[in-house]
Each structure stands twice: as structure tokens, then as C-alpha cells.
């Protein structure tokens, strides 16, 4: 099993390296990207099954003692999120192959390999049991995503890329300082040892560390007031890139936020995190309401939804953490589908501005369905996955009697729905703007692959809804493992 863990990190990197030098031979790159992503998905599946029955898998890189070297840890939470993430990237890559060489597609020579570098960064971030390696993982993700964002060299991309990279580099700097603080006060950067030592520190020092990393990871996760890089940069990128970003990047931030703060027992920060969660939800959805463009609306939704995951974390109860984890799992495919549909709309209509499109429900009923189902899911309407995830969180909130956040979470659902209705009435109803006279596009064969990939992602999301019973059990177990850090410590150290 440990060999598989190693492969998961290294294979995407190697495939990326070959992809960079493959030159004009596009088929080599396609085989490499799809092959390695499919492989990663399969490995993630095997790991999940293994971890579920046998317990946490630990790989000591170079076989060094955890005091000195790096460990990769696959516990239940990691395996669960990993599987969803890998499958999502795979689907997006298929979509990208279909979309190749359009104005909205990314440069295929670069984007495939870069996506793989991004993948290895994401894998590393999920699996690492070491705070410094997490920093490296963030760097991998940041640099590959920045290049993906800007490599087409469009004006808006460069401009928003600047916001993106400047804020994230600043966060990286803060991360480095945080590493210094942690190492100086505990003598280690190993997460398991930190889980042991941080709770023993004096309260002020412990709170300081918790807050500092809340800022660092919070920037990555795009929580209020640190989210500003997201809505500026995401809508400008090519669809496939945005779809991966939307599904995954901020979620890596949330993931490590949950992992670090729960393992190191930062319960005292709960009220603060809940406050930030409420603000993130409201400000995010307000942003979505204010926009008039499909991609921009969807981008702001990401922020709003991050608020829900943060809410689960802020409760610091079993139900809350489990709710946050299943919300994460539900959110990744749903958000990705929505962005892919946004891409399909853009592909067909030549724009994603609401006032320039209309009447798509008549002309493209399939597209309407592909949009409607995940949109309802996002707004928390039953029987979709978003409803159960939201119910779990609200239930956890009621259990702990935190009324304000429960009220905000419910009211926020209505606002989410308003913005979804805005897209629906703007894009799928109405008659469209005839004066702009968008040319009827001749669809290339790749179009079928794009729609197919979107549909597969949607089906995956529906499957998550249908199998929410087992998923919830897994989420609860994963949360229990995190809350009781002894299991994690034992698995790594002994």
C-alpha cells in the first residue's frame, strides 16, 4: 500500500515532465494525462477501500524517523477527499481534450502537463503529514495554477493573475513565518508530533499559532476577508482551468484548515471561526447576487459555500466536522459541473453574460438539465447532495444550539437560490438578445466529449447523493479520527 502512496505523488510529476518535452505530439500528452489521472483515481479508490477496512496508511519517505523526515499519511479523510478530487480532475481533463483549441480552451501543450503538476501538488497537500511539505505543496499548486491562469496572455488574465499571485505569495510568506514560529516553539513540523505538542503549549502561544494559520489557510480557502483574489481571477481563466480551480483549490485550503485546527485542538477559536463562517456565507452570496455573468456568479458562490464548511469546523463537534467533510465531498463535483456547464454555454453562445443569452431551455434542453440539477443541489434543495450536506451542518448547529449561524445558513440558501434563478431566467428562459446576433456555432466532434464529461460529473454527483448513507458514516469516522488525535499520532509515530 505504501508504494501506491508514493506513486500517487510521483507519477503525475513524471508524466508532466514527459508532457513538457513531448512537443507537437499531442496524443502522447493525452495518453499521459488521462492515463496518469485515471491511474491516480484508481489508486485513490484502492486506498480508500484499504484505509476503510485496515486503517491509516503511513509512508515514511526515505524511511526516516518522523522526527526527522517526511511522512505521507492516508487516513480516512485524506482518502475520501483524494478520490473525489482525482476523479474530478480526470473528468475535467476529458472535457479539456474535447474543448481543445477554441478561444475558450487552454493551450493544450502547456495545460495538460501543468494540470498534472497541479494534481501532484493537490495530492501532496492532502497526504502530507508534515507542515513544511504542505508549504511545498502549496507552492506547487500556486505556481502551476498561476501559469495556467495567465499563459494565454490575455489582458484580463494578466491583471487578475497579479491579484491572485500577489495575495497568495503574501500568504506563502506568512506560512513561512508560521513555520518558523511553530518550529521554534515545538521543535518539529511533523503534524502528528504537533498534534501532541501544540495542545501542551501555553494558551496565548497556542491561540497565536491557531490564528496565524487561520490567516494562512484562510487565504488559500478564500474566507472572509481574505477571499479577494478569487472572484477577480477565476472568471477570466479558460473554462477547464476554472472548473478545476473552483472544484479543488479553495477546498485544499479548507481541508488543511480542518486538518490542522482539529488535530491541534483549536476548539477555543470556534466562536471566531463561526463568525467568519457567517460573514463568508453572506458576503459570498451577496457577491453572487451582484453579478451579471454566469462564471462570475458561480465564482462568488464558491466563497459562500466555503462558509458552510467553515461552519462545520467552527462547531468543533463530531457532527460539525463530519458535516464539513461531507460538504467538501459533495461540493467538489457539483461546483465542477456548474463551471463546465458555464463553459458549454460560453462555447455555444460566445459569451457568459446573462443579458446576452436567453431561451437556452428551448434550444438546449440537455444543457438546461445539466445546469438545473447541480444548481438545485448547490442551493440545498432535496433530494440532491447539497440538501443532505446542508442538513447535516444545520443539524449539528442546532445540536450545539448556535442559533445565529443556523439562521444565517438557512437564509443563505434562499439567497443562493435567488442567484441561481437569476442564471436560469437569464440564460435558459427569455428570448435572448437578438441584436447581438450571436453566430450559430458549428459544433466540432469534441463537443460530444465535453457534454459527456459534464454528464459523467453530474452522474457522479447524483451518485454521491444516492449513497450518502455510507458517505456520512465515513465522514463521521473520519471526523472522529481527527477529533481524537491519538489515532493519527499513533499511526504516524509508532
Amino acid at each position: 500500500m505504501t508504494a501506491l502512496v508514493g506513486l500517487l505523488v510521483v507519477v503525475p510529476m513524471l508524466a508532466a515532465a514527459v508532457g513538457f518535452v513531448a512537443g507537437e505530439r499531442q496524443w502522447v500528452r493525452d495518453i499521459l494525462t488521462v492515463g496518469s489521472l485515471a491511474g491516480a483515481t484508481a489508486i485513490a479508490g484502492i486506498l480508500l477501500a484499504h484505509v476503510e477496512s485496515e486503517g491509516t496508511v503511513v509512508l515514511r519517505v526515505g524511511d526516516w524517523d518522523p522526527e526527522l523526515g517526511i511522512v505521507l499519511v492516508v487516513d480516512l479523510m485524506a482518502a475520501l477527499v483524494l478520490l473525489v478530487a482525482m476523479a474530478t480532475i480526470l473528468v475535467v481533463q476529458l472535457f479539456a481534450i474535447g474543448q481543445r483549441r477554441t478561444a475558450w480552451g487552454a493551450d493544450p501543450q502547456l495545460s495538460g502537463p501543468l494540470l498534472l503538476v497541479l494534481t501532484s501538488g493537490v495530492v501532496l497537500a492532502f497526504l502530507t503529514g508534515d507542515l513544511f511539505t504542505l508549504f511545498v505543496a502549496f507552492e506547487l499548486i500556486l505556481v502551476s495554477s498561476y501559469v495556467l491562469l495567465t499563459h494565454q496572455g490575455r489582458r484580463g488574465q494578466i491583471r487578475s493573475g497579479m491579484t491572485y499571485v500577489a495575495m497568495n505569495l503574501f500568504a506563502s510568506t506568512l506560512f513561512l513565518v508560521g513555520l518558523a514560529i511553530v518550529y521554534a516553539s515545538t521543535g518539529t513540523v511533523n503534524l502528528a508530533l504537533l498534534a501532541e505538542r501544540i495542545p501542551e503549549l501555553d494558551d496565548p502561544l497556542r491561540w497565536g499559532i491557531g490564528l496565524w494559520f487561520l490567516v494562512v489557510f484562510g487565504t488559500k480557502a478564500a474566507i472572509f476577508p481574505l477571499f479577494s483574489w478569487l472572484p477577480d481571477s477565476y472568471p477570466t481563466a479558460p473554462t477547464t482551468i476554472t472548473a478545476v480551480f473552483a472544484g479543488l483549490l479553495t477546498k485544499v485550503g479548507v481541508y488543511v484548515l480542518i486538518r490542522f485546527h482539529v488535530l491541534t485542538g483549536m476548539d477555543d477559536l470556534g466562536p471566531l471561526i463561526l463568525t467568519l463562517a457567517g460573514l463568508t456565507m453572506v458576503i459570498g452570496v451577496a457577491g453572487a447576487l451582484a453579478q451579471d455573468d454566469v462564471k462570475r456568479i458561480l465564482s462568488f458562490h464558491i466563497i459562500s459555500q466555503i462558509g458552510y464548511m467553515l461552519m462545520g469546523l467552527g462547531l468543533f463537534t463530531l457532527a460539525g466536522i463530519a458535516g464539513a467533510i461531507v460538504f467538501l465531498v459533495h461540493h467538489i463535483p457539483v461546483k465542477t459541473v456548474l463551471f463546465l456547464v458555464g463553459g458549454l454555454i460560453e462555447e455555444r453562445e460566445g459569451t457568459s453574460a446573462l443579458d446576452k443569452i436567453g431561451g437556452l431551455a428551448q434550444r438546449q434542453p440537455l444543457l438546461a438539465v445539466l445546469f438545473a440539477l447541480p444548481a438545485l443541489s448547490l442551493a440545498g434543495i432535496p433530494p440532491f447532495s447539497g440538501f443532505v450536506a446542508k442538513l447535516a451542518l444545520v443539524d449539528a448547529g442546532i445540536e450545539k444550539v448556535v442559533v445565529p449561524i443556523v439562521v444565517i445558513a438557512l437564509a443563505n440558501s434562499v439567497l443562493t437560490l435567488v442567484s441561481m434563478v437569476k442564471i436560469w431566467t437569464g440564460v435558459f428562459w427569455g428570448s435572448g438578445d437578438d441584436e447581438s446576433a450571436t453566430p450559430i456555432r458549428i459544433l466540432r466532434p469534441g463537443h460530444r466529449l465535453m457534454v459527456g464529461a459534464t454528464a459523467v460529473a453530474l452522474i457522479a454527483s447524483l451518485a454521491i447523493a444516492a449513497s450518502f448513507g455510507p458517505l456520512w458514516d465515513l465522514g463521521e469516522r473520519a471526523a472522529a479520527d481527527l477529533l481524537d488525535s491519538r489515532a493519527y499520532i499513533e499511526a504516524v509515530v509508532s
Binding site: M13, G62, G153, F170, G208, A286, P383, L410, V421
Partner: protein, 750 residues
């Protein structure tokens, strides 16, 4: 289940023509099945666990009430599909028929649910399908606005209901309806209010009624089915289903009856004001729903019995009335009471349907509406005390107005206005037959009142056992007070109605725009907030981040141990430190870009000197190299930019200086606080480095062996960064010269 198959079947039809015919098969099956359950007392249950950990399940229980409501939902559903076939005449209506069918299935799920979550699921499903159906004419902005309004009110109410159900499940200890016992207490009161508000939104009670008249923008089959006969009853059903659980809560009946009676009154006023026949019916529905809400939440045996009877009678006559108005609409192109003329002669079928169904609505024998209304009046008579008098007064006034608007509608619609009679399109069987059948059913229901009683009583008894002893009376007898009140109502109402029929005031909508205005306000507020938060200025974003980080440091201040601090280990450190600080200040102060870059180089050199003093020559060397490369890079990169930094205003400059100083102080404080406790693993590292790593240089061993993975990662980072630079420079030249792009970069930098 048969409905799901039906939806798929309709959508996959190759030929759009028979969409409605295929669609009606599903409700036909379920209506027949439910009818067979009407007399047999057997209870059917089905359960499918969904998320056991959260107690989520699909659970159904079909008892007498479920069967009765299912007969209404599916039976009227069948007629609606027939009617729809006639109403639309032609065109591709597969999507419409499928959505209508999906609604029908959701409604069945709602009335059969035996689990609060199942109930909620279908509750929301009816809201969503209703949205799609109201917006059928999706190019018409009125319809779209109305659809949005209906969805928002009902879904917002749905979420209030969700909150109520969560609280309720917490108190009751189970999510299964049939296992819930009566609950009381503070938490139960909260749940009761939330559940009632949810019910009010769906059943269009004050002040949430505003969405229902607007929903008349839907095609008439939808209005007849969803917005009069079935969906709007969901709230009433919910109140009924919750009666055994929450009925004992003090506020339950008081709130329900008050809101119900006020709605009954206000709805009737609305029906008297409007000149559009469909809107009259819609406001009439609001009013009738008010009466049902009042009866259902009143909660006595007789009242619940009356409520269930009213649900049945109302579904039958209101669907007939809508269908008739819809038929007039499609055959004349108008629904205006003031302009339609001579219809009595030209549309006799519609006329008689309206008369019979209208009499039933007014509560006149020999129609089913009469015994139902009688039951309601008797239930009010049974209430004692001042509140009882108020309820009786409310029901009586509401009923008088009901008779009035019914009379006005029929008289005005079919009167001769003088001049040419309105032109009428040819008769369509499919559009007329269902309404005829329903109006005849009103009579049959009266004649067979004992049989109807046999269906209604067990259904009502599942909600309130005391309902078991009552019956629908064809002829209550001359010594019945209720009968005389009833006759008074009819007489009074007829006079008012006849008078009102001559004076048609211009139509105006009251309150309907409030929801839209609320939505617009929300959107404006959202724009305002977003403008404040997402202003697009990178420097301000960074200031916010730096402030957040500085705030995070506050706890550290508490754990700095002042005794441990000393200024330097060696005097050289002080000198180098001062140099670094001075150079850093210079970076900020110098206006020339190249000068700032050089000052930055000095900072780097100073730091590497500090490393050297500390005894880390390797590190110092690396730092030196990096700094050199950076300075060289700056010098090359600055070529395309102006030589000076742009000037800043005093305030903004102060903010930036302040933030920088604060951030610096924060980092210093954080490091000071953490520096004291250092159980370092250096000893272990040194031992391992030599023995196992095979190198005397600890840093090298860490980089290449202990933390080789990190090194690999950073190498990849560098490669990717290089690729990015390459790609950008290519994109730059490919787009015909770098000038505009550099402009852009300059703006971005600012």
C-alpha cells in the same frame, strides 16, 4: 413510482402529439389504486433508508387520508391532462407534460409521506416544479417574474419549515410522523410557529399570499391543478398532519385561525375587486384556503372534519371553474369581465359549468359545497366564549363575501354588455369535458353525501379521533342554527354580488410587488456590499491581509518573556541589523525604482552577513546568490517601466507605512514569543546526518536526503515558473508587440 416511469416515457416520446395521453396513464393508475384503498381500512407502508446516520429516509404510509388526497390529486390530474390536450391544441408539449407529471408525483409523495424529511423533500419538489410550470411562457417577463416570486416565497417558507422540522425532530425524538406523540414546551412552541409559517407560505396565507395571484401567469391547466386544486393545499395538509403532534401547543390554533380568517376576508375582498376572471378565481382560492387553514388549525373534531370536507369540495369545484375560465380564454382570447359579452348563448357548456361549480363554491344545496360549508359553520358554533363568537363572525363575513364574488363573477362574465357579442372560436371536446364532469361530480357528491362521508370521516379521524362521529348532511333540518346562518349568508352575498356585478372597478394589484421590491432591494444591497468588499484594488487587499495577520499576533504578546530577551550575542549582529533596517526603510522611501531595487539588494546582503555571523556559511552563500540574481533580474525587468514609482497621497501613504510597520512588529512579536521554548531536534539531526546521511554538512543532508521530497517539489516549482515566463513572453509577442500588455502590467503593479 409509476409517475417517474411516466416522466421518462413522456420525455422519450418520439412524436410530441400524444404527450398528454401518455402522461395521463400514470395518474390514472395511481388514482385507481388509491380509490381501491378508500373503503378498505388497510394501511400500506413503504420505507427506504437513505442516510441512516442522519435519520433520513423515504418513508410512506397510505392510510385513509393519504388515499383520499391521492384520489383528488391523481383524479384531477387525469382530467387536467385531458384538458391540457384540448387547451393547447397542438405543438410540442412534451417538456410541459413531463413537468406536470413530475409535479403530480411529487404531490403524491407529499401526501403519502410518513417521515418529515420525505415530506420536506416533496414539499420542495412541488415548489420547483411549480416554478417551471408558472414560467412556461418563458419569454414573457411577467410570467418569469411571477415564477420567481412564487419560488422565492415558497422556498423561503420551505426553509422556515425545515428549521421547524429540525426543532420538532429534536423534541419528538423521531422523524417518523406516525411515531410522534404530542409535544409541548418552549421548543415545541418554536417548532409550531416555524411549521405554521411554512404552511402559510405554501397555502398563500397573509402576508405570504402575494405569490398566488401572480402565478396565474401560468397556462390554465397549471393554475387549475397546482394553484387551486392541489399544491396550495399542501400547507393545509401539513397543518392537519401536524395537528396530532403540535395541536396541543398553545399558540397553534390561535395563530392558525387568526391568519386563516384574515386571509379569508382579504382574499374575498381581492376577488371582488378584480376584473380578470382568472384573478377573481385566484383571489377566491386565497380566501377559501384561509377558511380551510382556520378550520384545520382550530383543531376540534368537527373543525378538522369540516376542513377535510372543504378540501375535497374545493378541489372539485375550483378545478371546474378554472377549466371553464380557461376554455373561455382560449376561445375568445379574453378573460375580462367588463368586455366579454353574450357568452351565455355562445358558450352554454361553460355557462352551466360555472353556475354549478359556482353554486357549490357559494355553499348552496344541492351541491357538495353546501354540506362542507355547513360543517364549517357548525364547527364555529361549537366554539364557546368570545373567541368562539369572533370565529363565527369571521366565517360568516367571509362566507357572505364568497357568495358575493361568486355571484358577481358569474353574472358579470355571462351578462350581455350591449353591442356585438364576443366572437367565439370552435368548441373543443377535450377542453370542456373535464369541467363538465367535475361540475356534475358536485351534484353527485351531494346526492351521495353518505358515501362521501364514509371517505372523509376516516381520513379526518386519522388526524383527530373526535372527528369520527360526524357526517355530511344533505338536509340539516329547519331547527339547525347553522342552516339559517347559511341561508342568510347566501341571501346577503347574492345581493352584494349582484350589486357589485354592475360596478366593475379597474383592476389593481396590491402587495404583489412587495416581494419583487424586496428582491430588488436585496440585489441593490448585494451590489453595494460587493462594491465595498471586492473593489479590485490589490494594495488594499494586501493591507487587509496584513492587518488580519497582525491581529492574529495579539495572543503572542501575552507570552513574550522579557527576561529572556537580550539585544545581541555579538556586537557585529547589531551593526548588520542596523544596516538591514536602514536599507529596508530606504527601499520604502526611495522614489527611483532602480534605487529601491539596489536598496533591496543591500537588505539581502545584510541578511546573508547575519547568517555568516551566526555560523551558517552555506546558507549565507545561497542567500548571496539569490540576492544577486534578484537584483540583476530587477535591473533587466525595470527596463520597460518608468524610472520613478508613482506618487501617493498622504493618507494612502500613511496607511501603507502604518501597515508595514504593524506587520513587521507582528512578525517580530510572534517570533519573540515562540523563541523561548525550543526543544530542538538538532542533536538527533546531527547524529543521523553523519551516520546515516553520510555527510558532515547538515543542511545538505536535509535538502538531499531527509527532505528530498520537498526539494523535488521546489525544483518542479522552478521549472513550472520558467515555463510560465516562457509562455507569457510568447503570448506577448504573438499578440503583436508588448506595448499594450506592459501597460497593463504597469497598472497591475500599481
Amino acid at each position: 413510482m409509476s409517475h417517474l416511469v411516466g416522466v421518462v416515457a413522456v420525455l422519450s416520446l418520439p412524436n410530441p402529439r400524444p404527450a398528454f395521453v401518455v402522461a395521463l396513464a400514470a395518474p390514472l393508475v395511481s388514482a385507481a389504486w388509491a380509490a381501491s384503498k378508500l373503503s378498505g381500512g388497510e394501511v400500506d407502508t413503504a420505507r427506504l433508508d437513505w442516510v441512516e446516520g442522519l435519520d433520513l429516509a423515504f418513508s410512506f404510509r397510505v392510510g385513509p387520508l393519504g388515499a383520499l388526497l391521492a384520489v383528488l390529486v391523481s383524479g384531477i390530474g387525469v382530467l387536467i391532462f385531458v384538458y391540457g390536450h384540448g387547451y393547447f391544441g397542438g405543438g410540442d408539449r412534451r417538456g410541459f407534460a413531463a413537468t406536470l407529471l413530475a409535479f403530480s408525483g411529487s404531490m403524491l409523495g407529499l401526501v403519502w409521506a410518513d417521515d418529515v424529511w420525505t415530506l420536506f423533500l416533496f414539499w420542495e419538489a412541488t415548489s420547483v416544479t411549480s416554478f417551471l410550470l408558472v414560467g412556461t411562457k418563458s419569454t414573457d417577463s411577467t410570467a418569469v417574474t411571477a415564477a420567481r416570486r412564487a419560488l422565492l416565497v415558497t422556498v423561503a417558507g420551505g426553509l422556515v419549515l425545515l428549521a421547524g422540522l429540525l426543532v420538532l425532530v429534536d423534541v419528538a425524538g423521531t422523524a417518523t410522523l406516525s411515531e410522534m406523540g404530542p409535544v409541548t414546551g418552549d421548543q415545541a412552541t418554536v417548532a409550531a410557529v416555524l411549521v405554521l409559517v411554512g404552511a402559510f407560505t405554501k397555502s398563500a396565507q397573509l402576508p405570504f399570499h402575494v405569490w398566488l395571484p401572480g402565478a396565474m401567469a401560468a397556462p390554465t391547466p397549471v393554475s387549475a391543478y397546482l394553484h387551486s386544486a392541489t399544491m396550495v393545499k399542501a400547507g393545509i395538509v401539513l397543518i392537519g398532519v401536524m395537528h396530532p403532534v403540535l395541536g396541543a401547543v398553545d399558540i397553534w390554533s390561535g395563530l392558525g385561525v387568526t391568519v386563516g380568517l384574515l386571509t379569508m376576508f382579504w382574499g374575498a375582498i381581492g376577488a371582488l375587486r378584480h376584473a380578470d376572471a382568472k384573478l377573481v378565481l385566484a383571489w377566491g382560492t386565497v380566501s377559501q384556503l384561509g377558511l380551510m387553514t382556520a378550520m384545520m388549525s382550530l383543531g376540534s373534531g368537527k373543525a378538522i372534519f369540516a376542513a377535510v370536507s372543504l378540501v375535497v369540495a374545493h378541489a372539485v369545484f375550483k378545478a371546474a371553474l378554472f377549466m371553464a375560465v380557461g376554455e373561455i380564454d382560449i376561445r375568445t382570447g379574453s378573460r375580462d369581465l367588463r368586455s366579454l359579452s353574450g357568452l351565455r348563448a355562445s358558450m352554454p357548456v361553460a355557462f352551466w359549468v360555472m353556475v354549478f361549480a359556482g353554486l357549490s363554491m357559494a355553499g348552496v344545496p344541492p351541491l357538495l359545497g353546501f354540506p362542507a360549508k355547513e360543517a364549517a359553520i357548525e364547527a364555529s358554533l361549537n366554539e364557546s366564549g368570545a373567541s368562539g363568537d369572533l370565529i363565527l363572525a369571521g366565517v360568516t363575513i367571509g362566507s357572505v363575501l364568497t357568495v358575493a364574488y361568486t355571484t358577481r363573477l358569474v353574472l358579470a362574465l355571462f351578462s350581455d354588455k350591449g353591442g356585438e357579442p364576443t366572437e367565439v372560436a370552435p368548441f373543443r371536446w377535450a377542453a370542456a369535458a373535464p369541467s363538465v364532469l367535475l361540475s356534475v361530480l358536485g351534484v353527485v357528491g351531494y346526492v351521495l353525501a353518505p358515501s362521501v362521508t364514509d371517505w372523509v370521516v376516516p381520513a379526518a379521524a386519522t388526524l383527530e379521533t373526535k372527528s369520527a362521529g360526524y357526517a355530511l348532511l344533505r338536509w340539516p333540518g329547519l331547527d339547525s342554527t347553522a342552516f339559517w346562518i347559511s341561508m342568510g349568508i347566501v341571501a346577503g352575498g347574492a345581493i352584494i354580488g349582484a350589486a357589485a356585478a354592475r360596478h366593475s372597478s379597474p383592476p389593481e394589484t396590491v402587495g404583489a410587488n412587495n416581494v419583487d421590491r424586496l428582491v430588488d432591494r436585496t440585489l441593490d444591497l448585494a451590489k453595494w456590499i460587493t462594491g465595498r468588499v471586492q473593489h479590485g484594488s490589490l494594495p488594499i487587499y494586501l493591507v487587509v491581509m496584513a492587518l488580519a495577520a497582525s491581529l492574529a499576533v495579539i495572543p503572542f504578546l501575552g507570552s513574550i518573556d522579557a527576561d529572556q530577551l537580550h539585544a545581541w550575542d555579538r556586537p557585529l549582529q547589531a551593526g548588520m541589523g542596523t544596516t538591514v533596517v536602514a536599507a529596508a526603510i530606504a527601499v520604502a522611501v526611495i522614489r527611483s525604482r532602480i534605487g529601491a531595487a539596489l536598496a533591496l539588494g543591500v537588505v539581502g546582503l545584510g541578511v546573508s552577513a547575519l547568517f555568516l555571523i551566526q555560523g551558517a556559511p552555506d546558507l549565507a552563500l545561497t542567500q548571496l546568490l539569490v540576492e544577486t540574481v534578484i537584483v540583476v533580474g530587477f535591473v533587466i525587468g525595470l527596463g520597460g517601466l518608468t524610472t520613478q514609482f508613482p506618487a501617493n497621497g498622504f493618507v494612502w501613504r500613511s496607511v501603507r507605512i502604518g501597515t508595514a510597520v504593524l506587520a513587521g512588529a507582528a512578525v517580530t512579536a510572534a517570533l519573540l514569543a515562540s523563541a523561548e521554548n525550543t526543544p530542538s531536534n538538532r542533536e538527533a539531526l546531527v547524529a543521523v546526518a553523519v551516520d546515516e546521511g553520510g555527510g558532515n554538512n547538515l543542511v545538505n543532508v536535509i535538502l538531499t536526503d531527509l527532505r528530498a521530497l520537498d526539494t523535488l517539489g521546489e525544483v518542479v516549482v522552478l521549472v513550472v515558473a520558467a515555463m510560465g515566463v516562457l509562455a507569457l513572453s510568447r503570448a506577448d509577442t504573438a499578440r503583436g508587440g508588448g506595448a499594450p500588455l506592459s501597460d497593463d502590467v504597469r497598472k497591475g503593479r500599481r
